[in-house]
Symmetry: C2
Subunit: 354 residues, 2 copies
C-alpha cells in the first residue's frame, strides 16, 4: 500500500540527480493522520537540508500522528546538518516507511533503531530495489571506496570509433551529443587520457547543465600534454591533471590542479576521487585507458551510443584495447538494458554490476 | 475501410516467408456480395497455385459480385500457372483491392488494366508500404537483377567478432543461434568465403526449418579448401562452390556443385544467384568478404546480434574490413530498426535500403 507514495518520493529524489555528491539522492513525503499529503521534500545538494527535514517543515504540525515516507533511512549522526532521526521524533510522526537502509557506517540501521526505540512504527524495504538502483553510485562508493564508473563511447554498427585515418567527428548525431552533455551533468568527474587531449582538444563540460561543472580529469603518464588546450582554461570548469611518480619532475599545464598518484593507473585515481566525494565518474577516454579502467574494476556501466553507420577499416579504432582474454568463458559479461533511441542513434547500456 | 482485410491478406502471405522464390509472397481474401469472408489463400511455393486462385476456389460461387483483396497485382501472363486475371474475371467479382503493383515486366500494371477493361472496379495502393516491405526481397531482385542481401554477424558490445587468438564460439547465446537457423530459413542461399570454411567448418543449414534447405555457397578465390568439410556432404542440403578464372585448373571438393564466375567477386555471384531464382541471400562471411559485398552493393540489410559482453583485444577481429572511407560524410548510413531482444542478446538491424 505504500508503493505509490514511495514512487512519489523516488521521483522527488531524482530531481537532484548528479548534484548531491558525496550524499545520496533522497526524497520524502509526509502524510497527515488521515493519510493526506501534507509535505514533500528532496535533498538538493550537499550542505542543504535533508529530504525528511524539508518535507516535515512543509507539513508543520500536520505531521503529528502522521506518516513519513522516505527513500533512504533517516540519518542519526551530526554531519553538516543535525540528525534527521531527531527531526522525525520532534515532528511526532507515528510511522516511518523506508525503502533502503543507509549503508553509511555512521548510520547502517542506527536511524531505524533509534526511531523504533522511541515508539515509532518503522516499515522498511518498500521499493528497496528501485531505491538501490537510483542510488547505485552512492551505494557503490560507500561499499567499495570507489565511484561508480560509466564508460561512454560512440561507434558505428561495425564497432568502429574512428575511421582508419583517425577521423571521428562526428559518429553520433546532434541529439546524442546533447545527450552526452546531460550524461556529464549526472557525473561528478569526467576522465580522459593525454591522448584524447592531444587528438581532440575536448571541452568535456555539461554546457551549463550542472553547476558546478563536473571536475575534468586528465590522467597522463608522461605529462606530454599540449601547452594550449580547452581543458587548461578553468574559468568555467575545474580541471585536474593526474600523473604518476615518473612525471614528478615534469612541468604540468598552467591552470589545472596537479595531482601525483602513487601509480598512474585508474584505480588510485578512483580512490582519490571517491575521497573527494565523487559518487559517479564518466570515462570518455581512448581504448587503452578504457581497457585499463575495466581491468581494474573501475567501470560498472558502459554507455555505448550506436550510430546507424558502417565505417569499416582494418586499422580503424575500436572501443576497447587488450583485456587479455583467450577463451569465451573469460570475457566480461553484463546485462544489456533495453536500448533507447536518441535521434537516429540508439543508446546501448551494459550493466557490469557494482 | 479495406485496411483490415488487407492486413489479413498480408498475414496470410507471410505464412510462406522464404519459401516462394523466385515468386513473391502473396495473400488474398475474398468477400461475398454482403462483405462476409468467403475465401482465403496464399502462395505457398513456386509452381503451386497463386493466392487469388486459392482464395477464389475456396469462395466458389460466393465470390460472384464480391470483392477480392490481394497483396499484389494479379498476374496477366501464363507462367507455370494460368494468369490470375482470368480466374478473377471467371469468378465474377465486382471489385479487386490491390496493395502493390507487380513490378515484374510481364505484369507491371497489365493485370490491373485487364480487370478494369472488363468492368471490374480496381482499388490500388491499400497498405502499399507494408506490402512493399513484405516483398522487399522480390522487388529488389526484379528491379536490380540481384537478390536482397542480408549480412549477419554476432559481436560483443565492443564490436568484436572474435578474441585476439581467433576464438569466437560462442559470442551470442543459444536463443540467438536458434534465431540464426530461423533467419536462414527465410533465405534462398547462405554465403561464406573459404576462410570461414577453413576456420569454422560450418553446417549453415536451417536445421530443417526450410525444405529444401537454403543453397550453401562458398566463394573461394583459390579453391584452397579443406578436403573434408560439413559443407561437402550434400545429402541434406545442396552446396555450390564458386570461384574465379584463376582457379579454373584447380580441383574443387567432391560433392558440391562447381561454378566458375568471370570474376571471384560478390557481384557476379549475386547475378548468378538471382538468375537461379534467389530472392534473398544471407552473408555469413568474414570481415573481408563482408566489406567487398558492401562495396559492391550486395548488402541491403545488416543483422548484428549484440551479446552483452566485452571481449577486448587490439588484434581482435571486427565485423568489417576496409571500406576505403577517409571522412565521416563518406560512411555508409542506414536506418537502425528498433532493437529486438533475443534471450540475453539484442538484434540490431540496419537497413541500408534497396
Amino acid at each position: 500500500m505504500w508503493n505509490l507514495w514511495m514512487r512519489r518520493a523516488l521521483a522527488l529524489a531524482a530531481l537532484a540527480e548528479g548534484r548531491t555528491s558525496p550524499n545520496p539522492l533522497v526524497g520524502a513525503v509526509v502524510l497527515n493522520r488521515e493519510g493526506r499529503l501534507v509535505g514533500e521534500g528532496f535533498h538538493a545538494r550537499s550542505g542543504e537540508p535533508h529530504a525528511e527535514v524539508g518535507a516535515l517543515a512543509q507539513a508543520g504540525t500536520a505531521a503529528a500522528g502522521g506518516t513519513l515516507i522516505v527513500t533512504l533511512e533517516p540519518c542519526c549522526h551530526h554531519g553538516r546538518t543535525p540528525p534527521c532521526s531527531r527531526a522525525v521524533l520532534q515532528a511526532g510522526v507515528a510511522r516511518v516507511v523506508v525503502a533502503l537502509e543507509d549503508p553509511d557506517p555512521r548510520v547502517a540501521g542506527g536511524g531505524i533503531a533509534q526511531l523504533r526505540k522511541a515508539g515509532v512504527v518503522v516499515i522498511t524495504g518498500v521499493l528497496r530495489q528501485e531505491a538501490a538502483e537510483q542510488n547505485r553510485a552512492f551505494l557503490h562508493r560507500v561499499r567499495t571506496g570507489r565511484p561508480w564508473g560509466v564508460l561512454k563511447w560512440a561507434m558505428g554498427l561495425d564497432g568502429r570509433t574512428a575511421l582508419p585515418n583517425g577521423t571521428s567527428q562526428w559518429i553520433s548525431g546532434a541529439d546524442s551529443r546533447r545527450w552526452v552533455h546531460q550524461l556529464r551533468a549526472g557525473c561528478d568527474a569526467v576522465i580522459v587520457g593525454g591522448g584524447t587531449v592531444r587528438a581532440d582538444d575536448p571541452l568535456l563540460t555539461s554546457r551549463g547543465r550542472r553547476d558546478p561543472e563536473p571536475l575534468r580529469v586528465v590522467l597522463s603518464r608522461g605529462l606530454d600534454l599540449p601547452a594550449e588546450a580547452q581543458l587548461w582554461d578553468t574559468a568555467s570548469a575545474a580541471t585536474l591533471v593526474a600523473h604518476g611518480p615518473e612525471a614528478a619532475g615534469k612541468q604540468a599545464p598552467n591552470g589545472p590542479e596537479r595531482l601525483e598518484l602513487e601509480q598512474c593507473e585508474p584505480l588510485p585515481l578512483m580512490q582519490h576521487l571517491a575521497a573527494r566525494g565523487c559518487n559517479q565518474v564518466l570515462w570518455e577516454c581512448g581504448s587503452e585507458l578504457a581497457a585499463a579502467a575495466i581491468r581494474q574494476g573501475c567501470v560498472q556501466e558502459v554507455a555505448a551510443v550506436l550510430a546507424p553507420k558502417l565505417m569499416g577499416g582494418v586499422a580503424a579504432r575500436t572501443p576497447l584495447g587488450e583485456l587479455g582474454f583467450t577463451a569465451m568463458d573469460q570475457v566480461l559479461c553484463g546485462q544489456l538494458l533495453p536500448p533507447r533511441p536518441i535521434g537516429d542513434d540508439w543508446l546501448l547500456s551494459l550493466r557490469l554490476g557494482g
